[in-house]
């Protein structure tokens, strides 16, 4: 942990070398993000609901997903950009050090600019929460926290899977955007609005549903079962599997080379 903090401070120091560029990027990230937000507002300007979900319910789902994604893009950027490490041959350097490889991968890159998105998703989360008609209690607060943590865990897993793919080939890596960006788009809405096939995929293959749909139903009072509260925890399993795969990739890397 202390090593990771060291990495954080090193990256901050590097970033502060270019203050103006940092500020401009921070602002422009804010704008990029506004695009998604704008889409949802436009659509709800024309329609009153989507399969019974109102604008603030959708915004809640949306903010949970973007929070997790942008959080990972800030703090686990090294994993997101893992292909660079492989292509530029710098992964070897990490193997030459007597420390945990995943920690070092995280430390390779920290993207403070995207804190802008984390902030904005939190703002939208607050707006949504203030406008939702929910009777809050300790269970529902817990659910919300688990949703946020689950979202981080899930995106970290997706980043790790995409990184593991780099051990096989770095060709056509753009496909990872289907996994992360695509998933992000799809899971902006409560997955219940989609046809059955999607729901199954988003529950069992890329478990966005466990992060932003099933617990959401509990918060909104559409289901009462307490088991829904803990559904985001399943993402931990997903993370474990993806990390194991990653380690397997590291092994393969050292037997096959690049």
């Amino acid at each position: 942990m202390s090593l990771y903090l060291k990495y954080l401070s090193m990256h901050l120091k590097s970033e502060l070398q270019y203050k103006m560029s940092f500020i401009l990027s921070f602002i422009s990230q804010f704008f990029t993000f506004f695009g998604y937000y704008f889409t949802i507002l436009c659509l709800f300007n024309k329609f009153s609901n989507i399969k019974g979900f109102t604008v603030y319910e959708v915004l809640l789902t949306f903010s949970i997903v973007t929070f997790g994604c942008s959080f990972c893009e800030v703090f686990f950027r090294g994993m997101d950009q893992f292909d660079k490490l492989i292509v530029e041959g710098n992964f070897d350097r990490l193997l030459l050090r007597p420390r945990n490889i995943i920690l070092q991968v995280f430390g390779e890159e920290i993207n403070y600019v995207k804190l802008s998105r984390v902030l904005q998703s939190l703002v939208i989360l607050v707006i949504a929460l203030l406008n939702l008609n929910v009777e809050w209690n300790i269970y529902k607060v817990l659910t919300l926290l688990l949703m946020m943590l689950g979202s981080i865990t899930l995106f970290l897993s997706l980043f790790t899977i995409a990184a593991t793919y780099c051990f096989i080939t770095v060709k056509g890596l753009e496909i990872r955007h289907v996994l992360t960006d695509g998933g992000k788009h799809l899971a902006q809405y409560p997955i219940g609005i989609f046809r059955k096939g999607f729901v199954l995929v988003l529950t069992y293959i890329v478990p966005f549903g466990f992060v932003n749909y099933y617990p959401l139903l509990y918060i909104l009072g559409r289901v009462e079962k307490k088991v829904y509260i803990f559904s985001p925890i399943t993402t931990i399993l997903y993370l474990i599997v993806s990390l194991l795969l990653f380690y397997k990739g590291v092994k393969k890397y050292s037997s096959v080379g690049s």
Binding site: L3, S14, L96
Partner: protein, 326 residues
């Protein structure tokens, strides 16, 4: 048993063959064919503690594969490596804290901030105690004369100063073995000398074993007594430079300036070129004494000027490569 013991290591890479044609990419996606490349074959050597060894060979000979195996990044298909009682790729985490690696073409320093920050990070990575760190760092700063450049962002440093910092960074945890991959590439003469002197010095004072790969033969001449020459994945020569010279350095160029014309045919004359007033002979000194040759020639023509050029090590290596057809 020696400090570094490499026995019969092999490594084959599997490279997918790209198929051409319209649906080539599609075809190779479903039915991949592979080509096998023997990067290294049956390589064995041993190195004593405190030795400096030059590991040389043309591009693609298997140098970097060997270095990768020795530094624990790559696992060989067969064979064994034992370094300081460890197998690099098995005891990787423990092993790598005993080695330092410098890739001349890559950097381990953080580009935008001063080198001292990178050193501080390495202190944490290698879990070096404050005391120990302080001591080593001061030593390095003094030896490499880094005092004035430690607090300048790395991107603003000259190539020579950057390389000094790179080397310092790889020694901060006091490794027992130092791998240097083209450490003087792109450096000017002064920096080259500084880097070489430093390598010699830490080798002497700290008894650090140094394995050096380079294309710059003057590096080898200045640093390594022993060279290992590799070509097409196999070791071609392992021994001292002196012995190598004795065996292969038998050609001399003799440039004679004269107004006369002469044509000599002898078996020891390999080549003879005349440009204006200058005749250039290439002779084989195994077959004739140089002085005898000059005597013979001076009896036939009047010599205005004479110059004898001995080969530098580059020519020697080129000839070696030619001889082994690599």
């Amino acid at each position: 048993m020696s400090f570094i013991e490499v026995k019969h290591i092999n490594k084959t890479f599997k490279v997918p063959i790209r198929e051409d044609g319209k649906f080539g990419a599609m075809k190779s996606f479903f039915n991949r064919k592979y080509r096998y490349i023997n990067a290294i074959q049956d390589i064995s050597f041993s190195i004593k503690k405190g030795e400096i060894v030059g590991y040389i060979g043309p591009n693609g000979a298997g140098k970097s594969t060997t270095i990768k195996i020795l530094s624990g990044i790559l696992t060989p298909d067969s064979g064994s490596v034992c370094i300081d009682k460890m197998t690099p790729w098995i005891d990787r985490k423990k092993y790598v804290s005993e080695i330092g690696v410098v890739f001349g073409q890559r950097s381990q320093l953080w580009w935008d901030i001063p080198a001292i920050d990178s050193f501080n990070l390495l202190k944490d990575i290698y879990k070096i105690s404050d005391e120990e760190y302080e001591k080593t760092l001061n030593e390095l700063i003094e030896l490499l004369n880094l005092k004035d450049i430690m607090n300048i962002p790395v991107r603003q440093l000259s190539l020579g100063n950057r390389m000094k910092c790179e080397i310092a960074a790889s020694l901060i945890h006091k490794p027992k073995i130092l791998f240097l991959d083209e450490p003087t590439i792109g450096l000017d003469a002064v920096s080259k000398k500084a880097v070489r002197d430093f390598i010699k010095r830490i080798n002497k004072t700290n008894n650090v074993t140094v394995i050096l790969t380079t294309h710059d033969m003057s590096d080898i001449e200045a640093l390594a007594k022993r060279i290992i020459l590799i070509g097409k994945g196999s070791i071609l020569y392992d021994g001292t430079i002196g012995k190598l010279k004795k065996n292969y350095d038998y050609l001399r160029k003799v440039k004679i300036t004269t107004k006369d014309n002469i044509e000599i045919k002898r078996d020891y004359i390999i080549n003879q070129v005349k440009i204006k007033d200058e005749i250039e002979f290439v002779i084989d000194i195994r077959k004739v004494e140089l002085s005898d040759f000059i005597k013979a020639i001076s009896s036939k023509i009047s010599i205005i000027d004479i110059e004898i050029i001995s080969n530098d090590i580059d020519d020697l290596i080129v000839r070696l490569y030619e001889e082994y057809k690599i």
